[in-house]
Amino acid sequence: MRRSPPGGYFGKVLIVDLGTGSGRTAPLEESVLRSYIGGAGLGTWLMHRYCPAGIDPLDPRAPLAFVFSPLVGTPLTTSAKFAVVGKSPLTGRLTDALASSHFAIAGKLTGHDAIVIHGACQQPSVLVIDQGEVSLAPAGNLWGSPADHTETTLRERMGPAWRVAAIGPAGERGVRYATISHDGRHAGRGGLGAVMGSKLCKAIAVRGRGKVASADPAGVLAVAKDLRERSFGPATAKYRELGTMSNLLTFNAISTLPTRNFSAARFEGAQALDVGEVSALKQVARSSCASCSIGCEHLVKGPGGKKTRMEYENLFALGPLCGVSDPEAVVAASSLCDELGLDTISTGGTVAWAMECAERGLIDAPWLRFGNGDALLSAIAQIGAREGIGDLLAEGSRAAARTVGDGSEAFAAHVKGLELPGYEPRTLQSMALGLAVNPRGADHNRSGAYEADLSGDHDRLNGGESHVAGAIGTENRAAIMDSLILCKFLRKVFTDPYPEWATLLNLVTGWDVDADELERTAQRIVLAKRMFNLREGWTRAEDWLPDRFLSESLELESGRKATLTADRLDAMISSYYRGRGLEPSGVPQPSTVEELELQALTTDLDK
């Protein structure tokens, strides 16, 4: 007789075949849940389990998982999050994109810890999941519409209890960095919106009427109250009062603001994009995600009065990275990305690459110049429509550079095909390592190693052993936060994170996880992602940074040169491999596999 699932879980996954519109459930054993928790961790396990090796991410058989977590539905602040996990059409490697919204709560309360979709609809459709009942409805004229319109229309049609995750036109047209959105937020990186689009699935509508109990409801309530109070403290002041937009001037002051496709790290137009300027000009409201007490969202007025969420990453990517200092243009560009369903980082990174190529005469687009806000908007519109140069740029900077050739690859700022976020690796050398080795590619959410660089505990310009330790530590902590799931803006609230996280998890599940076990779980999740990539053909050469970062120095305001050499990066990567228990090739050592109980995944490598 099967045991009851632990608190916070239903112990099952819903598997939907879009080709037939049918669903079935499969059990999730407690050992799997305890080993991978939920969110990004459980999603990784699901991909090992359900993703055919070597499959094209846009093949109908490629699975796409919406993964919840044990904390979803509890009163713990920032816990209404879920992960979308799949093989990225941008990188060809594993990607997991997190988002916060009521979709997480409603999706979980359908009675499942995860929903995995595979196959493709016969026509553009909406997947409807009402508790355990699965059906397809024609998307009709929603096909072609922005995601927020789709969401609004479906909820008006179906009722307010329904929650919707949808793609925009970019996902429908297979733009390889298209997003999946809901409540105005996006599961953004890696192009999983294109995977959904390839399945002709415009949206997923969920209604949950189930209940899931915590093992110790009173205990959960007490820690939730404590965590909520702590979330109002100085550790979250920046997010609460200004949002992440305030990073822009700070990063500019310390030569960490990627500018004009990473050709500089300070932007002369930064002041015009300061949060104070943007907010004074256009701010209309502050907001927060579902179940969040921090409230980091800063909404500004976009074209036509539309509310647009502005944060550091879209501000940097569509501003300094493209040399654009006009806040109106940057907000309009961000709003257009939202409407089309585009990841703003990859959009900005790809357009910045194109601007540099155009200025160097490598592509024939004389209208596309750094600093030209109209050109930026035009390029984004063409990407969303896959028209003109947009069809090339819709493939992402790596693939576009391969097509253009002529040395243009040197200017494509990506790792594993994923465009770099707003952290200059030459002046943040722990982050340089984190960007290089992360399974998802150049990413600041799975590797927050900039935290070590900005701590003051080491020389951020001189990467070495302490930088490696910083990168491993932040990667491990991210793996747990992304699996529990809790917002990383809470991370400084936890003074002793592993024991505190273990307490939260135990109160919900009834387990007796301790800090050591949780840290091993973090290592397991990080390596499980790596092992998925290994199965898909990863080699050590992919753990690397573009040559620009290794051949061009940056000069700081102090006069000091920030230089990251290939030798230094290689030494840090080798040290990282040793620290993670990997062979020099980057493959996990047998002893590591055994210690972290990853044996079941190694069989995948033979598939």
Binding site: I254, E451, L556, S558
Partner: protein, 281 residues
Amino acid sequence: MVDSAAIVLAGGRSSRMGSPKAALDWHGSTLLRRVTGIVGRAVAGPVVVVSAPGQALPELAASVEVVADPREGRGPLQGLAAGLAAIGDRAQGAYVSSTDVPLLHPGFVQYVLRRLGDDFDVVLPEIGGYRQPLSAAYRVDLLGTVDELIAADKMRPAFLFERCRVLHLSGEAMLEDRVLARLDPRLESVSNLNEPADYQRAHALPAPEVQVRRFGPLALRDTPRLQSVRAWTLGDAAAAVGLTLDEHVVAALNGDQITRDPHLPLAAGDAVAFMVADAGG
């Protein structure tokens, strides 16, 4: 400019001062802490303090290395040899300083080191009519020559200068550099303290003027973002604008290193950026 390090000679007897100079208070810090901090700001390589055998030193930054001079009281060449040996192959050039120069500016150190290229073994400022061998830059590969001089009991720096290529820099020539002229117009970097009266005079000087800017939520209060304050250390600068360096507040000096070390010495013209420790996304 070559890869650079710094050597601070702390083993002198301080007989005229009457107490060890290294431990003399400098506005809440010590003379040695200040000088090691200043040279540390100017070089990418190690900072080595050469002490006398058994000499007690005040607290220093964790990154500072300490080596004991094997023989006490034999003068600067002995200390220079110990310092150069400690640096080894980690740098090609070293700025060598005494302990008693609290007005030393990192811009002065950088200027002197910049002149140490392939054509010279020593860059030797001559200011106020005096050679300044303890405010000078030396190639690290001079160690063999220095050891030979010590073995021959030729302990004066002048013997070394006779045997290598020396760039003599007059004060007037140095001040033709606009950056140095702005940062240290009277070349007070070489003003050393020999007697208590020197110390008292220097100690009574106003602190250097620095520009302070607050970022993010630290800038929300009713004060201008950019302020000019006088401060000997980073902790003083923070206090001057009502901040405390703790787990939530860090600083960047001249857009360079991120630090929360309140003892970090400041110098005229510095720009200090205070930001929240959680400066990422």
